[in-house]
C-alpha cells in the first residue's frame, strides 16, 4: 500500500479535545478522551462497536455536549451547541446512516440550510459543484433524487456538501460499512486528495486493514477510553503486518496474527453417525420478491457444521424460515432424528430440538423494549417454572436470567435493561443463550456474525465450534466465505433457491465454492 508523505501542516491542531467525558444512563461512553486533529492528516479513530466512536462524533458535530472536559477549536475553548454551529466552525460530518432527504433531488439536498427567505440558487450551485467535483474526480447528477443514488454516490454527495460549506474538518463515520470493495478504494483516494488540500479527515472504522491503508495517525478507542495513538512518523515506519498486530494489541490487549484467520479443526468420526436432520426435496414456490426453494435435499450429522454459501438473497433466508416453520412449504419432508417435523408449528419444532438464530436479531429475534430477562424466556411464556397459572414468577425469572448472563458473558447494566439498548454482539449472546437452552439438537445460524465487531464475531465463531463439538448439528448460513471455510465441514452452495452443489471443506474448497457461487460448475 503506497502512501504519499503528507505535508506536516501547520503547527496547531484545528480541534483538540481535553479530558472529554460523556455519560449515558448506565454507560460511560467517553471517558477523559484527549484527542488532537491536525490539518493535512487522515486521523483514524479505531475501535470496536461500543468503544465510544459514535459518541465522540456526536460531540464534535454538535449533536451532543460533553459532561466534562472541553473542546478547543483553533486553540479557543468552544461549546459546539448545534449541528449548524459545528458547520459554521468548519466541521462537516458524513454520518454512518445517510443524511440526505430521499424525496429531494441532489441539488435540493445541497441547497438545504440556506436562509429560508431566499430563492434556491440552483445555477450558482451547479457551477460550484462542477468546480469542486471536477477537482476531486467525482461525478454527481444534481437532478437525480437522492433515493435513486447508490450508497457510494450518496456518500459522495455528502462529502461534497461538507466541502461546499468550506469545511476544514471532514468526519467520516463508518463510511465504508455500506460500500463495495471498489467503493472503499475510491473513498481512500478521495481522502488522500482532501488531506492534500490541507483538510483534516477524521475516519472512523472498526476494520484494521482500512485503518492501516488509509490513515496517517491512528487513535484507538476501547470502552470509551483512548488506549493508544500512533503518530504519523511511527505510522510510516511500520509495514502493514506490524501495524495490524500493534492495533490488535491495543484493541484486545493480546498480540496475534490476523484475528480473522480461523484455524479449522476437523471433527473426526462424523460421517459414520446417522443424520440428525434430513431434508428431502423441500420445495416452496417463488414469489415476486424471493426465489423460493426448489428441491432442497441434504443431511446433517451430529457434530457436523454444514455451511450454506451463496450470494445474499438466493433463498438462504427462506430455507432457514422453512426449516424453523416460520413459512410454509409446498412439498418435501424434514426429518429431525428420524421423526417428520414438516407439519409441526414453530414451537413444536423448537421443543423437538430444532433451534434457529435469526439474522434479524432485533426485528424477529427479540422484543426490543422488553427486558433482557423476559427475552430469554420469550418462547416459554406461560410455562413452568417461570410462570405458574399464568402468573409471572419474577424471582425465578431473574435468578435464571442472571445465570445465563454470567454463563454467556452478556454485557448489560442489569437483567432489567431493555434488550434493544444492548450492542449487536450482546443481543446475539441473548439469542444464543435462549436457543441453546435445554435439548437443542440442531442449531440453524443465519449470518451469525453480520454487523458484529471483531471480538464478538470471534466469540460467536468459537461458540459455534463448541456447539458442534458437543454433538449438535449446525447449519451455518453465511455470506462470508472466510467464515464458512473456517468453520464448516461441508459447504453447500445455494443459487436461485436450489442447492447447486455441495463441497467437502478441503484445500480446493475455496475455488470450488467460489465457482459455484458465481454460476460455474465446480
Amino acid at each position: 500500500m503506497e502512501r504519499e508523505v503528507t505535508t506536516a501542516g501547520s503547527a496547531a491542531p484545528i480541534i483538540a479535545l481535553e479530558g472529554v467525558t460523556k455519560r449515558f444512563p448506565g454507560v460511560v461512553a467517553n471517558d477523559h478522551v484527549e484527542l488532537a486533529i491536525w490539518p493535512g492528516e487522515v486521523h483514524v479513530l479505531l475501535g470496536e462497536n461500543g468503544a465510544g466512536k459514535s459518541t465522540l462524533i456526536g460531540l464534535l458535530s454538535g449533536l451532543q455536549q460533553p459532561d466534562e472536559g472541553r473542546i478547543l477549536v483553533d486553540g479557543k475553548p468552544t461549546a459546539i451547541t448545534s449541528p449548524s454551529h459545528a458547520l459554521s466552525l468548519g466541521i462537516g460530518t458524513v454520518f454512518q446512516h445517510t443524511m440526505l432527504v430521499p424525496t429531494l433531488t441532489v441539488a435540493e439536498n445541497l441547497l438545504l440550510g440556506a436562509p429560508w427567505w431566499r430563492r434556491p440558487r440552483k445555477d450558482g450551485l451547479r457551477t460550484r459543484v462542477e468546480e469542486v467535483s471536477r477537482s476531486l474526480g467525482i461525478k454527481v447528477n444534481l437532478d437525480a433524487l437522492a433515493s435513486e443514488l447508490s450508497l457510494g454516490e450518496q456518500q459522495h454527495v455528502e462529502i461534497l456538501r461538507a466541502l461546499l460549506r468550506d469545511s476544514r474538518i471532514l468526519i467520516l463515520d463508518e463510511s465504508t460499512s455500506m460500500l463495495t470493495p471498489s467503493g472503499i478504494e475510491e473513498l481512500g483516494v478521495l481522502m488522500r486528495q482532501l488531506v492534500g488540500r490541507g483538510l483534516a479527515v477524521v475516519f472512523i472504522t472498526h476494520k484494521l486493514k482500512e485503518a492501516a491503508a488509509f490513515g496517517d495517525r491512528i487513535s484507538v478507542l476501547k470502552l470509551g477510553r483512548k488506549v493508544g495513538e500512533i503518530a504519523p512518523e511511527r505510522f510510516r515506519a511500520l509495514d502493514e503486518e506490524s501495524l495490524i498486530s500493534e492495533f490488535v494489541e491495543l484493541m484486545f490487549g493480546k498480540r496475534s496474527g490476523d484475528p480473522e484467520d480461523v484455524v479449522r479443526e476437523p471433527h473426526p468420526g462424523i460421517s459414520q453417525a446417522a443424520p440428525v436432520l434430513s431434508v428431502r426435496a423441500l420445495t416452496r414456490a417463488p414469489t415476486s420478491v424471493s426465489p423460493g426453494l426448489s428441491d432442497i435435499t441434504f443431511d446433517l450429522r451430529p457434530g457436523e457444521i454444514l455451511g450454506i454459501a451463496g450470494i445474499d438473497g438466493n433463498g438462504q433466508k427462506q430455507l432457514a424460515d422453512a426449516l424453523s416453520g416460520q413459512i410454509a412449504t409446498d412439498d418435501g419432508s424434514i426429518l429431525l432424528d428420524g421423526q417428520p417435523i414438516e407439519f409441526l408449528p414453530v414451537h413444536a419444532r423448537r421443543d423437538a430440538g430444532l433451534r434457529y438464530l435469526t439474522d434479524d436479531r432485533l426485528g424477529e429475534g427479540t422484543v426490543a423494549p422488553f427486558p433482557v430477562s423476559i427475552n430469554f424466556f420469550l418462547k416459554q411464556i406461560g410455562d413452568r417454572p417461570f410462570w405458574r397459572s399464568g402468573i409471572e414468577r419474577r424471582a425465578e425469572l431473574d435468578r435464571r436470567a442472571r445465570a445465563l448472563i454470567a454463563a454467556f458473558d452478556i454485557r448489560t447494566p442489569s437483567s432489567e435493561t431493555p434488550v434493544g439498548r444492548l450492542s449487536g454482539g450482546n443481543i446475539q449472546k441473548v439469542l444464543l443463550a435462549r436457543e441453546l437452552a435445554d435439548g437443542a439438537k440442531v442449531v440453524i445460524f443465519n449470518k451469525p456474525t453480520y454487523g458484529l465487531d471483531l471480538a464478538n464475531a470471534l466469540a460467536t465463531r468459537n461458540r459455534i465450534r463448541e456447539i458442534a463439538a458437543s454433538g449438535k448439528g449446525v447449519l451455518l448460513i453465511s455470506t462470508d466465505l472466510e467464515e464458512l471455510l473456517g468453520l464448516s465441514d461441508r459447504i453447500a452452495v445455494m443459487a436461485q433457491g436450489s442447492v447447486v452443489g455441495t463441497v467437502e471443506n478441503s484445500e480446493t474448497a475455496r475455488t470450488e465454492v467460489g465457482r459455484l457461487m458465481v454460476g460455474l460448475a465446480a
Partner: protein
C-alpha cells in the same frame, strides 16, 4: 324533476359547492403544510371551531367581516400554539393531543356561546360580494363562481402561492425535509423544531380562517359544533393530495359539491330521507379513500417527534 335541472338550481348548487368548499380548502391546505413538515395535526377541527366562534364573535361585535376573519385566524393560531408547545417542543403524542384539542374546543366554544347568547342565535348580515366584471355575467357559471366574497378568491390564489412555496422556495425545501428526514435538515443547519412550529402555526391560522368563513359567510351564524367534521375532511384531503395544493382544491370542490347537494336536494323536495342525503359527503370520502387511499404516500417522519441524535 324539472327543478333539478333548471338554471337557477344548477347555479345555486354550484354556488353552494364553492361556499362549502372554501373552509375545506383552507383546512386542507393548512393540514397539508403540517403534514409536509411531519406533524399530523388532528387538532385542526378544534382550531377550526375556535376560529368559527371567535371569528363570529369579533364580526358580530365590531360589525366588520374582515376583523372577524382576522380574529378567527388569530384564534386558530392560538390553539395551534398549544399543539406546538406539547407536540413539537415537548414531543408528546400528536394524535392524543390533537383529539384532546378538538374535543376540548368543541365543548369550550359551545359553553362560551351559551353564556354569551343563551339560547338565541343572532345572525350576521349577508357578506359583501365581489362580482368579477365580465365573468360574473356568464349564465349559470357567472353567479355560481364569480359572485363571492373576496376571501373565496384569495383562498384559490393561496393554492398557487402554496404550490410556489413548496416547489420554488427554500422554505418549501425545509418543510419537506422536516417531514421526510428531519435529521438531515438539522445537520444542514436548520432548526427542525422552528420549521415545524412555523408549519403548525400556519395550519392554525388557515384552519381558524376557514372556521371564520364557515360561520360568518357560509352560515352567517354560530351554532355549537358548526364545523361538523370539516377539519377532519381537511385531513382526508391533505392525505389524498399527496403534497400537491392543486389536488386539495379539486378535492375540496368535490366535497363541496356533495355537501351542496345535501342542501339542494332537500330544497328541491326530492323524496329521499334527509339522513340518506346527509350521508353523501361522507360516502364521497369513503369512495375517494377506497380509490386513492392506497396511493397516498405520507412523509416518512409523519407523527414522529424529532429528537436530536436519535435515528
Amino acid at each position: 324533476m324539472t327543478g333539478l335541472f333548471s338554471e337557477i338550481f344548477l347555479s345555486a348548487l354550484l354556488f353552494g359547492a364553492v361556499t362549502a368548499a372554501v373552509p375545506l380548502l383552507l383546512a386542507g391546505l393548512g393540514e397539508q403544510m403540517s403534514e409536509k413538515a411531519g406533524v399530523l395535526n388532528i387538532g385542526i377541527e378544534g382550531m377550526m371551531i375556535a376560529g368559527a366562534y371567535v371569528g363570529f364573535l369579533v364580526a358580530f361585535m365590531s360589525e366588520s367581516l374582515w376583523l372577524g376573519f382576522l380574529g378567527g385566524a388569530v384564534a386558530g393560531m392560538a390553539v395551534s400554539s398549544i399543539m406546538v408547545l406539547l407536540c413539537v417542543r415537548l414531543g408528546l403524542n400528536q394524535i392524543v393531543i390533537g383529539i384532546g384539542l378538538t374535543l376540548g374546543l368543541e365543548g369550550l366554544t359551545a359553553l362560551l356561546h351559551h353564556f354569551q347568547f343563551s339560547r338565541t342565535y343572532p345572525r350576521l348580515p349577508a357578506a359583501d360580494v365581489l362580482a368579477i366584471p365580465g365573468l360574473a355575467d356568464i349564465p349559470v357559471l357567472g353567479p355560481a363562481l364569480f359572485q363571492h366574497n373576496l376571501l373565496v378568491y384569495l383562498s384559490v390564489a393561496l393554492v398557487f402561492v402554496m404550490g410556489f412555496i413548496y416547489r420554488r422556495t427554500q422554505l418549501g425545501l425545509n418543510l419537506q425535509a422536516a417531514g421526510d428526514k428531519p435529521s438531515a435538515l438539522d445537520i444542514a443547519g436548520v432548526d427542525v423544531v422552528t420549521t415545524r412550529t412555523v408549519a403548525v402555526l400556519t395550519t392554525g391560522a388557515l384552519a381558524g380562517l376557514g372556521g371564520a368563513y364557515l360561520a360568518n359567510v357560509g352560515a352567517g351564524i354560530f351554532v355549537p359544533f358548526i364545523t361538523n367534521g370539516a377539519g377532519f375532511l381537511g385531513i382526508v384531503l391533505a392525505m389524498l393530495a399527496r403534497g400537491r395544493p392543486l389536488w386539495v382544491l379539486f378535492g375540496a370542490l368535490l366535497f363541496g359539491i356533495s355537501l351542496s347537494l345535501t342542501t339542494a336536494l332537500q330544497v328541491a323536495g326530492i323524496n329521499i330521507p334527509t339522513d340518506v342525503i346527509q350521508m353523501i359527503p361522507f360516502l364521497a370520502v369513503m369512495v375517494m379513500l377506497v380509490i386513492f387511499g392506497r396511493k397516498s404516500s405520507l412523509p416518512a417522519a409523519l407523527g414522529l417527534p424529532y429528537e436530536r441524535g436519535s435515528r
